[in-house]
């Protein structure tokens, strides 16, 4: 048989995509490389998930469970311990090869939804030098040990990077009785959500050091210490400010990178800014029939947005599987001024007559700011924000119906407007 939609990845994006595609009447298969659904949510035992979608503070597993239940109710077939090894385009869609405990198998599908998530940047990728001892972990690895295996990865910890997982792990390790000596952030401002700064650091008296970074590690066997350095405005270490801190563990929360090896092998066009595929307003990539969502598309701050993006990709894939049509002209969406990027990167012609949800991030922390959405000289919409911060993604629904014909790019211009 040929599936309408094969979803790769059983985390929040993939779960939402599978559910929405099924609801749209498609034959769906959900593939997950691990032994259970939920993706990274499985190890996120803290709360704060689902505030927007369910108006409730859920833990990661609780949030995932709501979707997993739906997958079960809708009787969506799921392949667990199933790893996709190769995908090839064919005239009807795609051939997908995978391995599982049962062996190597091949299936056919009309569309693909890539919900492969993201990975964490590592110590060497942020130019930390010195020896190679045990005790240097990304926050996600430390979280896996602590929350899934019940094992303590460290006793005396330094956290580099104030990304959300770093902040969550600072609190988690403190709760488990570890000394958390501090969170060091190379940028002049924190990288995590404000609520995590308060709930994870302030409430536990964990100090945050801004414009400081780890430049070197010491120790031959287990980590024995790290070298901390102040950085200048270009975020380069300032000579003479080196300071050694003794610790046995370094936890890194220094950025997430969308995982797009499958997309790249399919020759999907990747946006250098987001490191994810260039997508249109139906979540379709530059290869017709291939859709992208969640953190594989671009790194999100809240799981609620990830689910939303999965739903769009799933529904669009189901529709595409039926009609197999590609909108001809597409209108690009572009970020300008203080906006760092905007997604989707283009709007399908058929969506120009409706509402489209865009997400953007700013380049730096701003006070009162105004976002002007325009095309050519015509202003489509305006929105003011009391403040914007790079860690916090912003969402805006743009009503394109009100505007007449759009031929020129839709520009999202963000400016600080002062108090």
């Amino acid at each position: 048989m040929t599936y309408d939609v094969v979803v790769i990845g059983g985390g929040p994006a993939g779960l939402a995509a599978a559910v929405s595609a099924k609801k749209a009447g498609a034959d769906v298969l959900l593939l997950e490389r691990e032994g259970s659904l939920g993706g990274i949510l499985k190890q996120c035992i803290h709360d704060g998930f689902g505030l927007m979608r369910f108006k409730k503070k859920l833990s990661g597993p609780e949030y995932a469970e709501r979707f997993i239940e739906e997958v079960k109710e809708l009787q969506i077939p799921v392949g667990l311990w199933t790893f996709v090894t190769k995908i090839k385009k064919n005239p009807e869609g795609f051939s997908v090869w995978m391995v599982s405990r049962e062996g190597v198998s091949e299936l056919q599908t009309r569309t693909l939804v890539l919900a492969t998530g993201c990975r964490e940047r590592t110590a060497r990728q942020v130019s930390i030098h010195g020896t190679r001892p045990a005790g240097i972990y990304t926050a996600g690895t430390a979280q896996h040990f602590t929350n899934l295996q019940g094992e303590m990865p460290g006793k005396r910890c330094v956290i580099l990077g104030s990304g959300d997982i770093g902040l969550i792990m600072a609190r988690r390790l403190k709760l488990e009785g570890a000394d958390v000596l501090g969170v060091y952030e190379v940028k002049p401002e924190p990288s995590g959500l404000t609520r995590n700064m308060v709930q994870c650091l302030d409430d536990f008296q964990i100090p945050l050091y801004l414009s400081e970074t780890v430049t070197r590690v010491f120790g031959e066997k287990r980590l024995e210490g790290v070298e901390i350095c102040k950085v200048d405005e270009q975020m380069q270490p300032v000579a003479g400010t080196e300071q050694r801190i003794d610790c046995d563990t370094l936890i890194l929360s220094v950025g997430l990178i969308p995982e797009n090896e499958i997309a790249e092998n399919l020759q999907v066009h990747i946006d250098p800014k987001t490191k994810g595929p260039v997508c249109d307003s139906s979540a379709m990539t530059s290869i017709p029939g291939v859709f992208s969502c969640g953190n594989a598309f671009h790194v999100n701050d809240l799981v609620d947005y990830v689910s939303e993006s999965g739903e769009l990709a799933g529904a669009s894939a189901a529709r595409y599987a039926k009609i197999q049509s590609v909108g001809v002209a597409q209108i690009p969406a572009e970020a300008e001024g203080e906006a760092a990027y905007v997604v989707p990167q283009c709007v399908r012609q058929e969506d120009v007559r409706g509402k489209v949800t865009f997400y953007f991030r700013c380049k730096r922390t701003l006070g009162r700011s105004e976002l002007v959405v325009k095309t050519g000289s015509r202003v489509i919409q305006k929105k003011t924000f009391s403040a914007v911060r790079p860690p916090e993604m912003e969402r805006i629904i743009v009503d394109l119906l009100k505007t007449e014909e759009i031929r020129e790019p839709i520009v999202f211009e963000l400016r600080e407007v002062g108090a």
């Binding site: 490389r33 259970s36 939920g38 499985k42 190890q43 597993p61 311990w81 790893f83 090894t85 090869w97 391995v99 599982s100 405990r101 049962e102 062996g103 190597v104 990975r119 964490e120 590592t122 060497r124 990728q125 130019s127 030098h129 010195g130 020896t131 190679r132 001892p133 045990a134 005790g135 972990y137 990304t138 996600g140 690895t141 896996h144 040990f145 602590t146 899934l148 295996q149 019940g150 094992e151 303590m152 990865p153 460290g154 006793k155 709760l175 488990e176 009785g177 430049t215 070197r216 031959e220 066997k221 287990r222 090896e261 790249e264």
Partner: protein, 574 residues
């Protein structure tokens, strides 16, 4: 040799407190200097490549005590009173390959390695190039062995089931003015030195093979015999094959001292007991000089030289299919060899290495300046090279003598000893040939005191761990049906299954550490650097060996990964 003349020269530069004298046919430098660089330079000045003496460095470094060899913590008597025919000191490519070649005879062979795995120093920390020998002049041992070694690679890697590809080496030149000298050089290498595959190829031919090479390269010297091999993979394979044929490899075992009697090594003291070998082979890498000293047979010196390589993501492997670098005939201030870009046996790219003199034989810490230097230099080879694609980096320490040549000979004063020292680049290439010669030499030396029979059960073939990802679909399917663990992917970046990891833990020379598994089957070698799979690998090691997770280490002794249970205690996997 005229030591008086040498001393005069040295004293003119470095002062009258430095002395150069002849001892037992070699040149010995004594005195105190205040920089390591000066020590290395002074010794290098005393080298005379035409005469066959060695330079021995007895110079002291002012105010600095040179670091002592790191020793394993374990103390027991596991090897006490053992009487092997041959004791090999050092589990690098030299020691491992010699052990394997020795198994062609009915001999009791014991290899001791002070680290918790083989290939932990230079053999695990180099770029894996199988050199054509183009950069070596005639008359050295290195040159003689590189040609033989290179030719043996196809067969050796087939026998040992190690991936090897002859991907070719290109040395690009930027100036047309260098064409004639380059052609003469190539001709000389080809016809005089025996590097028979040497050719000069045009920019057009070059582009056809390597389209991403810098457009400024006008022509290149090309050697099709150059190749890429996984250096630690080959060392492990050699060691496993040796073990399979009856050799014993003792890890975490360091040589501490030797008892010498009438020009013979009578016993060798280790942290695992006293061993009474009939013959000792010194393959101790940067510590070969120290071992020679223990044996009362020190007639050469090692001056360690660090080199750092960056490993790039497989995604950019397409930038270079072979091995390439660029050179100019103009004299530059830089005295490093220059390095290059290597497409590895696993399809990553390596950028480097640099070359920095050091007295720290075991300082493998990386420095930012090395990476910057390598990239700056190699952007001349491929302009698109980006530091953004680095997934990790590593430093190794080479073990050259001041003559910059190998020392492969019987001990001069201590007779039941063979030195296999000064093995630096192209030591990986030369290993198969050197090992054959050293093994033959050892067998002949032993034959003078006892009958040495051929081992009719010797099996040169090693069956490596299957690489599921590389198998044809049907074969892979068949393997998974036989063992479903081959279908459970643990490492997503390198596509490594749980079955392969279990195989590594059940291999002939198992090493129950995360790095041991990583070096054997590659989980954690990819772009996430073990972020996803390391906790899973730790768990599998625990399951297979029964060791509690907090006892599992990254790379042996004390490199613990975990500190025991969390407060919640033993939670089941979700």
């Amino acid at each position: 040799m005229d030591c008086k003349k040498l001393e005069k020269r040295i004293q003119k530069i470095y002062g009258n407190h430095i002395h150069v004298e002849e001892k037992e046919g070699n040149v010995v430098l004594t005195g105190t200097m205040n920089s390591w660089e000066d020590i290395v330079n002074a010794c290098a000045i005393c080298v005379d490549k035409k005469r066959r003496y060695h330079v021995v460095n007895d110079l002291k470094l002012e105010g600095t005590e040179l670091p002592k060899m790191r020793l394993p913590k374990i103390q027991d008597q596991a090897l006490d009173r053992r009487r092997p025919d041959v004791l090999i000191i050092g589990g690098g490519i030299s020691g491992a390959s010699i052990a394997r070649e020795l198994m062609k005879w009915k001999l009791e062979v014991l290899l001791v390695e002070k680290e918790s795995d083989v290939a932990m120093h230079a053999s695990g920390r180099n770029d894996g190039e199988v050199h054509p020998g183009i950069d070596l002049g005639k008359g050295t041992l290195k040159q003689q062995y590189v040609i033989r070694g290179n030719r043996m690679y196809g067969r050796i890697c087939r026998e040992l089931d190690v991936p090897f590809k002859r991907c070719g080496q290109y040395v690009g030149m930027m100036h047309w003015g260098e064409l004639l000298p380059a052609c003469l050089y190539a001709w000389q290498r080809k016809h005089i030195c025996g590097v028979s595959d040497t050719r000069v190829i045009s920019a057009k031919a070059l582009r056809k093979r390597e389209p991403h090479l810098n457009k400024d390269i006008k022509f290149a010297i090309y050697n099709s015999s150059a190749g890429s091999v996984c250096p630690y993979g080959l060392t492990i394979a050699y060691a496993e094959n040796a073990v399979h044929n009856g050799a014993e490899v003792a890890l975490d075992t360091a040589v501490l001292s030797m008892e010498i009697e009438k020009g013979q090594i009578k016993s060798v003291l280790t942290n695992r007991g006293r061993i009474y070998p009939k013959l000792v082979i010194n393959a101790a890498g940067t510590f070969a000089e120290d071992v020679a000293k223990m044996a009362g047979d020190r007639f050469y010196s090692i001056h360690p030289r660090r080199g750092t390589n960056a490993i790039l993501d497989k995604k950019v492997g397409r930038l270079m299919g072979g091995i390439a670098s660029w050179k100019t005939l103009k004299k530059t201030a830089e005295h490093t060899k220059g390095g290059g870009i290597v497409h590895t046996a696993h399809d990553n790219l390596l950028v480097g290495p640099d070359a920095i003199e050091t007295y720290e034989k075991e300082n493998f810490a990386t420095e930012k300046t090395s990476i910057e230097h390598n990239f700056q230099k190699q952007r001349g080879t491929v302009k698109e090279l980006s530091e953004q694609d680095i997934i990790t980096y590593f430093t190794g320490v080479r073990a050259p003598t001041f003559e910059e040549d190998f020392v492969i000979e019987q001990g001069r004063k201590t007779k039941n000893l063979i030195h296999c020292a000064g093995i630096q680049s192209p030591g990986l290439t030369t290993a198969p040939a050197v090992a054959m010669d050293v093994a033959r030499m050892a067998a002949a030396m032993l034959a003078s005191r006892q009958p040495v029979a051929e081992n009719e059960n010797y099996n040169p073939r090693r069956r490596g761990i299957p690489r599921l990802r590389e198998l044809p679909l049907e074969k892979r399917n068949e393997m998974i049906r036989k063992n479903p663990e081959y279908g459970v992917i643990v490492c997503r970046c390198e596509e490594i299954s749980k079955g392969e990891i279990i195989d590594a833990l059940n291999s002939p020379l198992p090493v129950y550490t995360v790095d041991g598994v990583k070096k054997r089957v590659r989980p954690g070698m990819g772009r996430c650097q073990g972020g996803f799979c390391m906790p899973l690998v730790t768990k599998i090691i625990s399951e297979v060996t029964g060791m509690p997770p907090e006892e599992i280490t990254k790379s042996g002794e004390d490199s613990y990964i975990l500190f025991g249970k969390t407060k919640a205690g033993d939670v089941d996997d979700i």
